[in-house]
Amino acid sequence: MAQVTLRKVVKKYDEVLAVRGIDLDITDKEFIVLVGPSGCGKSTTLRMIAGLEEISGGDIAIGGDIVNDVPPKDRDIAMVFQNYALYPHMNVYENMSFGLKLKRTPRNEIERRVKQAAQILDITELLDRKPKQLSGGQRQRVAMGRAIVRDPKVFLFDEPLSNLDAKLRVQMRTEIKKVHQKVRTTTVYVTHDQVEAMTLADRVVVMNAGLIEQVGSPNDLYHSPATKFVAGFIGSPAMNFIPCQVEQAAGALRVRVNDTLAFPVPADRTARYTPHAGKPNVVLGLRPEHIAETRPHIEPNQHDFSQVIEVVEPMGMETLVYFTLAGIEVCGRVNPNAGATADKAMTLRADLSNMHLIDDSTGKVL
């Protein structure tokens, strides 16, 4: 059993708080991704789990044992670094077996494990090459191999794909997922790329300014973000935040965006949003995919409105359109054949069944 538990973990550099007391339970065999903007404390958290940074407060437990003062080598972890950190003077086999050799593992056991890991990662024919003779993707595989052979309780990945080009990154992402499905070891993975987080994780931990904003499955975070930060961080293009006013008019609850445009609140949300009627600093959160072109058949909670399109970005399978609403640039996703043209008015359709209402003063989703 290799669960990882963080209790009120704090990291202080001189007077700067990098991590400000986080609690996290990672269950056995789980793939957890820590995601957030740079400087949010995600890498520091990972390095504290690894034992490369001392913790300034709180407790970290691996497999039920508190490891606050245990050196990295005795924590039974393996780490994959962003720049691979392969030993340049050793060949692939020596790189992968270095840790086992230091542990005085019998030679035939080392050979068995290295061969097995090499097979999993498909690098068997690279075993006698030096790191400089390998491509970026191959180096990353070797770095993963070095982690796998040690058969650790926990894998730690520190932005392992950031050094790869876009195409290879997608390929290696799938590779990492495959490896996890084969090896099933508890994994903590740090990235700033929300797509990586969504695609890899069993659960995603969104961090911001040294605190955890929200923990949940990728779908949870996407569909029911807890804060404006999470709502804006997860999803690409980002969610639109349109200043609005909740108003009670003629027995119906509406979200007024400007003098001429107000969307009725879906019936199932009326009770939830009624207390916020008339409040200042309320923001309507609507993802670009919920603003599309108009169609003949209209579903409940969908509302047409007309806007002058300012920028059109064809993406192939879809076209992004940008327009101004309530002084904010808003993005919508329309069908490439919908005939979106810059500087021309277009009738768009907002789907409010997936709307969010956010209190801008607290940053909480209402």
Partner: protein, 307 residues
């Protein structure tokens, strides 16, 4: 009319493009000519003294003092070599120099590699100040040091009864005061250029600090270590001031001082043997350079670019 005016210029521009390659290679040709020109001047300038040494070493004393062409030997002789290698204490000087230099290299590298590793990697209170301090030590000229060193040796003699003056082995303790700071400084720079993740990976792999040093840092920083080794050997081999001040008996002298004190008697200069001695004395560093040159260059340029 306008069309007609444009047409010839465009047709003229098209073939004009081809000679551009020619002009580029012409540029390159000139650059090469200039670099050869200066390289030849450079080489002649620096090879002249050794060549003069070689020519003179093949001349008899009579020929040297005669007004003949200094750049030519009329009757070459090996007598200088034979005399030097059989009669004088030249071999003793050579042996003293060799032992001192080899041990100075060993002592210096043992201290500076470990010191540099600690200063570059282990963050402890005052480590940055210490690193600067090490370099500042190197900036003190050795001419300023030997009076305090005399005092220290006298104190050692008074207190422990150990006479450090006039022994060739004392030089093995003296030279590291010059070589350790600089070698440490080179190594700090070299170790600092090794990515931090490498020792973190080693740390996670279960290596101790000592294993990280011996199994990761030393192999990776080998070019830097070789650069420091060559530097140390050269300093130890060529050092003149300290042996001149601290050793006096003929049996305790090292090569540079030995040649000067035994082959110059009053105002009689035995030029033939001086030149032979200097030429033979220049051989060991030359051989070491020749073997380690590739590493040396790699060591000097490493850290300049991240690679």
């Amino acid at each position: 009319m306008a069309d007609a005016a444009i047409a010839p210029t465009t047709t003229a521009a098209a073939p004009a493009r081809r000679p551009q390659y020619g002009s580029m290679s012409k540029n390159r040709r000139w650059a090469l000519r200039w670099s050869y020109f200066f390289l030849v001047i450079f080489a002649v300038f620096f090879l002249m003294p050794p060549f003069y040494m070689f020519i003179t070493s093949l001349k008899s004393s009579a020929e040297i003092s005669a007004a003949t062409n200094p750049w030519w030997v009329n009757s070459p002789t090996l007598s200088n070599y034979i005399e030097l290698l059989t009669q004088n204490q030249y071999l003793t000087f050579f042996r003293n120099s060799a032992i001192v230099s080899v041990f100075v290299v060993i002592i210096t590298m043992a201290i500076s590699v470990i010191a540099a590793f600690a200063l570059a990697r282990m963050k402890f209170w005052g480590s940055a100040t210490l690193a600067t301090g090490v370099f500042l030590t190197y900036l003190i000229p050795d001419t300023l040091l030997f009076i305090p060193l005399f005092k220290m040796f006298a104190w050692v003699n008074d207190t422990f009864g150990i006479q450090l003056m006039n022994h060739w082995w004392t030089l093995m303790i003296l030279y590291p005061t010059l070589t350790v700071p600089f070698a440490t400084w080179i190594m700090i720079g070299y170790f600092a250029s090794i990515p931090k993740e490498l020792d973190e990976a080693a740390l996670i792999d279960g290596a101790t600090w000592m294993q990280t040093l011996t199994k990761i840092f030393i192999p990776v920083a080998l070019p830097g270590i070789i650069a420091a080794t060559i530097f140390t050997f050269t300093v130890a081999w060529a050092q003149f001031l300290y042996p001149l001040a601290f050793t006096t008996s003929t049996s305790e002298l090292v090569l540079p001082v030995g040649i000067v004190t035994t082959l110059i008697k009053g105002d009689v200069f035995n030029w033939g043997q001086i030149m032979t001695g200097a030429l033979l004395g220049a051989a060991p560093p030359l051989i070491i350079y020749a073997f380690l040159m590739d590493y040396y260059i790699a060591g000097l340029t490493a850290g300049a670019t991240k690679g």
